[in-house]
Every structure is written in C-alpha cells, then in structure tokens.
C-alpha cells in the first residue's frame, strides 16, 4: 500500500520520468556538450567557450546559494566569501601539494599527479567552505530577514578584507596568489587527440573547454545532490521551516539544525565553484569577491526564481552570460570594424548599470522571478516570529530592537 502511495507522492513533486522528460534531458545534455564544441571550432566564436565556462561557474554558485536562500529561506549577501575561501584554499594548498610532488622522479607520474591536484582540491575546498558556512550560520540563526542580509554582507566583507590584508601571510593581499602553472590532468592528451578539421571548422580541445566541462561536471553533481536532499527528511524540514517555522518546531523539527545544514551545504558548493575558478583563471585576488559579486549571485537566484533549479540556472546563465557575451562580441573580431575600442569597453562597463536597473524593474514587475518554483508561495519565509494568536493579546510579532520612537 505504502509503495503505491510513495510512488505517487514523490513523482508529482519531482516529476515522473516520462518519455517527454527524458527526451528533454537528453536533448539538454547533448546541447551542453555539443554547442561549446561547435563554438570552439569556429575561430570567431571560440571566445564564447570562455563565456560558457564563466557562466557555468556562476551556475554552480547560484545553485549553491539557492539551497540557502531558495530552500531554507535565509538571505545571504556575503556568499562570495565561500567562493573566495574555496578558491584560496585550492591555490594555497594546491601549490603546496604541487611543490611536494615536484620532488618525484618519474616524469609521467609527476605530471599525472600535478595535473590531478585540482581534483584533490575539490574536497579540501568543500570542507573549508562548509566549515565557514557553519561558522557564519551558528551565530546568525535567529536573525530576521534584513538583519541577516546585513550580517552576511558584513561577513563577506570581513573575508575579503582579511584577504586584502594578507591574512596569515597566505593571501598576499591585493596582489593575489597564482596557481603553480601545471597542465590539468588529461588536457594534453585531449589537445593532441581530440581534433577535428573540415572546411571552416577547425576544432582543437582548448583549456577553456576543459574547465567548462569540469564546471558542468560539478553542476551535474550539484543538481544530483540537491534533488536527493529535496526528497528527504532534511528537505522536508526545510520546506516546513520555510512555510511556518513555529509549526515546524512544534512538530519536532530542530529549526536551528536545519538552518545550519543549509548554510553548510550551500557554502560547500560555493567552495567547489571556487576551485574551478581558481584553476581556470590561474590566479586569485580579493577583487573577484567584492560585494557586487555576492549581490549578483543573489540576483541570479531571485530573478531566476527562488527555489527553482531551472529558474536559478537560467538566472545565472543570463546574468553572467549576457554581460560577458556583450563584452566578448564588442571586443571580438566580428565587430572590430564597426565600433571603436573605447565604445567596446564602455559597453562592458554599462553592464553593472543595466544590472542595477534590472533589479529595480524586476522587483516592481515580476518579483517571483522568471521561472518561479511551483512550490513557493512567497519569496521569503515570514520573517517575524508570529506567535500563536492568543485571545488576550493580538499576535506578538518579534521586532529585533525596533524601538520606534523617533
């Protein structure tokens, strides 16, 4: 009996594996693989691959933040801090490891190991970021919406400032740290063997393409984990907590623990994104983790549709992709005859202006985002702890220090 029920209840929420759905997913996977390869093959379009790689990293970030904000309903305006920690951890620890490996005599083994270091850095960054997530989450759990926003913003800035001030001598301040130059595992083989030339199409496996696929692998892993969590005891407690925190507590959900899990898991994915970023760029500096970045990631989640995986992905692709595309197109050989270099670079600068405007307009026009989650009735959990309405007092809303005497 329960089997039958179980089949029906899990399917409507996550969708049945109908033929149509499978076809859609297969189609998407094919596109994800083939499109960038196609771009790589045409010289004028090859810069798009870099755009896709960057956008893919933001997709990971947006998915990670979505756990915290979209599922658990907690604002985080300092998410870039976890991104930064993953990136710095990856570089600092990775360089150490590579130095150690350099002592190995066997060239083949040595190259294989150094090339695989970035993969070994993934769990390292994940742990570092997750711990940071716990450290941030623990003290702020009881804070209300906008206060939480400011505190997380503060945390993000603290991390950035520590990096700028050469924290523990590891981060080298504003100059940043570079990864030791190595060929990531498999790249040389792919560059030698994965080639295809016919007509105007000249494809060679590039570094950008490598990191693009690395990011995509992480994205798939992220989606996999999130969907499994969604349909679990923890996932249910997140939804319950978001719907009605007091009712959830009364029914036995330890809301504090659930929030901590959200912070830690959300942060973890930020850390993973940091590894890809650090290794694809070869260099990490505090400039990449300014508040604007955190704000952008929040916007990707909010504008894309909080709590909705496709929404958040679309949000990230658009917000990260479009400005990069514009800069890329403006500076590419395609239009070099049409616009001057100054115009090209100022078009790039306009992206933040447009971004700011977009945020204002979206909130006024479509606050639920582009692809709203089917489940979400409201953007954010009711942030005042509405106590059960007693007969003698009207509902007690807890205002944090809102002493309204001007």
């Amino acid at each position: 009996m329960a089997e039958a029920i179980m089949n029906t209840i899990t399917k409507p929420r996550q969708g049945a594996w109908t033929g149509k759905r499978i076809a859609l997913i297969v189609g998407l996977l094919l596109a994800v693989v083939i499109v960038p390869i196609a771009f790589q093959g045409f010289q004028e379009l090859s810069f798009f691959v870099r755009v896709l790689a960057i956008a893919a990293i933001y997709v990971i970030l947006a998915l990670g933040l979505n756990i915290v904000t979209g599922y658990a309903g907690l604002l985080n305006f300092g998410y870039a801090a976890f991104y930064a920690m993953g990136a710095y951890a990856s570089v600092v620890v990775g360089n150490l490891v590579i130095d150690m490996i350099a002592k190995i005599g066997n060239v083949g083994l040595r190259e294989f190991l150094t090339g695989s270091t970035w993969i070994a850095m993934l769990p390292v960054a994940a742990v570092v970021a997750a711990l940071a997530g716990l450290a941030l989450g623990a003290p702020v759990l009881r804070l209300r919406g906008d206060y939480l926003a400011i505190v997380t913003l503060g945390f993000g800035e603290i991390v950035r400032l520590l990096a700028v001030n050469d924290f523990l001598g590891l981060t080298r301040g504003a100059m940043g740290v570079s990864t030791t130059q190595v060929n990531p595992v498999g790249l040389t083989w792919l560059q030698d063997n994965a080639r295809l030339t016919f007509g105007g199409f000249d494809f060679m496996f590039s570094v950008n393409l490598y990191w693009y696929f690395a990011a995509v692998a992480i994205i798939i892993f992220t989606i996999f984990v999130i969907r499994r969590l969604d349909d679990s005891r923890l996932g249910r407690s997140w939804v319950a907590m978001r719907e009605d925190e007091i009712a959830a507590e009364s029914v036995g959900v330890n809301v504090m623990t659930a929030k901590l899990w959200a912070f830690a898991l959300g942060a973890m994915f930020g850390g993973l994104a940091g590894v890809i970023f650090a290794n694809s760029q070869g260099f990490v500096s505090p400039e990449s983790f300014i508040f604007m970045e955190s704000a952008m990631i929040v916007s990707m989640v909010v504008l894309g549709g909080m709590g909705s995986i496709p929404g958040v992905i679309v949000g990230a692709l658009l917000l990260a992709g479009i400005p990069e595309v514009i800069s890329g197109v403006a500076q590419s050989p395609l239009l070099s005859g049409l616009i001057s270099a100054e115009t090209a670079s100022s078009i790039s600068s306009y992206r933040y202006l447009a971004f700011g405007l977009l945020m204002v307009v979206m909130m006024a026009v479509r606050p639920q985002g582009m692809i709203p989650s089917k489940r979400r009735a409201q953007e954010l959990q009711p942030d005042d702890m509405r106590i059960v309405e007693d007969e003698d007092q009207s509902s007690w809303t807890v205002e944090h220090g809102a002493r309204h005497d001007l």
Partner: protein, 260 residues
C-alpha cells in the same frame, strides 16, 4: 505521578499576568478540557506547555520532568504534540507530506544517507510514508493524501493538523479549539475522533468553546477567567457552578444548558 503537573504556574507579560498561579494536573488516559472566556489565558498555557513561552514563575512538569525553558522541538520529542487555534499547516505541501514532517522526531536519516540513498534511508522513508498514511487513515483523510494542504476544505484541514500531531507519537495531545467553525455533524465526528485518540493511548487536553463537545468528551474540566482558575471538576459539576455560569456562559446560559 501525574502526566502533567502545573504548580503555581504563572506567565507574566510586562504588567499583565496572562496566567496567574495556575494549579492543575492531568493524569494519563484522561481527556481534560480547558474552558473560559476569550482572553482567559488558555492558549498561553498551551504555549507554556509546548515551549513557546517560558513560565515566569512556578513549576510545569510533564512525565516528571520540567518543561520550563525547553525548546519546542525538544518538548515534542518528549511526547507533547499540539494543534493551533488558527490552523498552521504547511500549505504548499501535500496532506501526506504534512504528516510526514510529523515523523521528524521519530526518524533520524541525515543528509549523507539521503544523498547516497542508503538502504537504511530507503527503509526509513518507507516507514515514514507508512506511518503518515496510517495517521491519515485514522482521521479519515487517506483519500486526500496527494492534495495540497491549502486546497483542503476547512474541516479536513483541522483533521490534518491532528493527524500531523499524532504522527509525532505523543503521550499528550493538546487540541486548541478543534471544533471551531464546525457544524454539529462535524463536531460529532470530532468527538468520536477524540474518543478514538484516547483509546489509542494518548492523553488529551483540549481548549474548546463548543460546550456540547466539552460536556460530551471531557472527563474533567478546568475553567479559567482572567488567567486564574475559577473552577474545576466533572462536567456535571461545572455546568451547575454559578461562578462559571456567571463568568462564561452568561446570558442565554439556561438555553445552552438545556441543550447540553
């Protein structure tokens, strides 16, 4: 040892004593009713029992241990569950999912097992669904298992809240005005349901304004007014108690008593 014992329990908000030196006890297997005019402090008392408020003074024990200062989810784990005066369901979850959340304290699978889909996880999920479905059957909502909670009719929502509370395997169930807004037929069904709950081994404390329901099911009644206990006893005694009639039943009391 009583299941619930309140000794001089007081709840003070600033200058207002919402509950003033309440002394009461509940024995296992009883159905006790808490009645009184609006503003008497009944829901406040519920809130104290369930950890939402911390008593300002006095003692409040459950199964021998004090509940004062414990968090709501801890108290739930100890065995107290409740429903709310204004229904607080998880509106955008299905009926079944609402009750599944109720199994939270009686299950333990963590995120690791969830991601790995370990055999232990799968077993527990199945057990959770089974247990939830059973509770739905118990309250008569099995056919609406996959409906969104917000789409249920009012009476069904009240029953769902009860099912969710029962899913926590409580020793004590607190019902806050379960019959509110119900027609006589629904109230009669509810009375039967409460009887079945008692038979299943759960002690019940309920707040109710519907006197027919109260008189039908309650073993004992406590009457509060302005935060103070003004009467206690069996239903027949309370019905005749002049203080109660004066404070609560007021005008038209004769007519009401004649019906009860």
């Amino acid at each position: 040892m009583s299941l619930v014992e309140a000794i001089n329990t007081t709840m003070q908000f600033g200058g207002l004593k919402a509950v003033n030196e309440l002394n009461m006890h509940i024995e296992e297997g009883e159905i006790v009713a808490l009645i009184g005019p609006n503003g008497a402090g009944k829901t406040t008392f519920f809130n104290m029992l369930t950890g939402i408020y911390k008593p300002t003074s006095g003692e409040l024990t459950f199964a021998g241990g004090s509940v004062a200062g414990k968090k709501a989810h801890q108290i739930c784990r100890l065995g107290i569950a409740r429903t709310f005066q204004n229904i607080r369901l998880f509106s955008n979850m299905t009926t079944l999912e609402n009750v599944m959340v109720g199994r939270h304290t009686r299950s333990k699978a963590g995120p690791w097992q969830a991601v790995l889909r370990s055999p232990g996880f799968k077993r527990e999920e199945k057990a959770t669904v089974d247990a939830a479905y059973q509770r739905l059957q118990f309250v008569g909502l099995a056919s609406s298992a996959n409906e969104l909670a917000k789409n249920l009719p009012y009476g069904a929502q009240r029953r769902l809240e009860i099912a969710r509370a029962l899913a926590t395997d409580p020793k004590l169930l607190l019902l806050d005005e379960p019959a509110a807004g119900m027609n006589p037929q629904e109230s009669a069904e509810l009375t039967k349901l409460v009887g079945r709950i008692r038979k299943s081994g759960v002690t019940v404390l309920l707040i109710e304004h519907d006197m027919k329901v109260v008189m039908d099911i309650a073993d004992r009644i406590y009457v509060l007014d302005f935060g103070e206990l003004i009467a206690e006893g069996k239903p027949e005694e309370i019905q005749k108690n002049p203080k109660v009639i004066e404070a609560y039943l007021g005008v038209g009391a004769e007519a009401m008593l004649a019906q009860a």
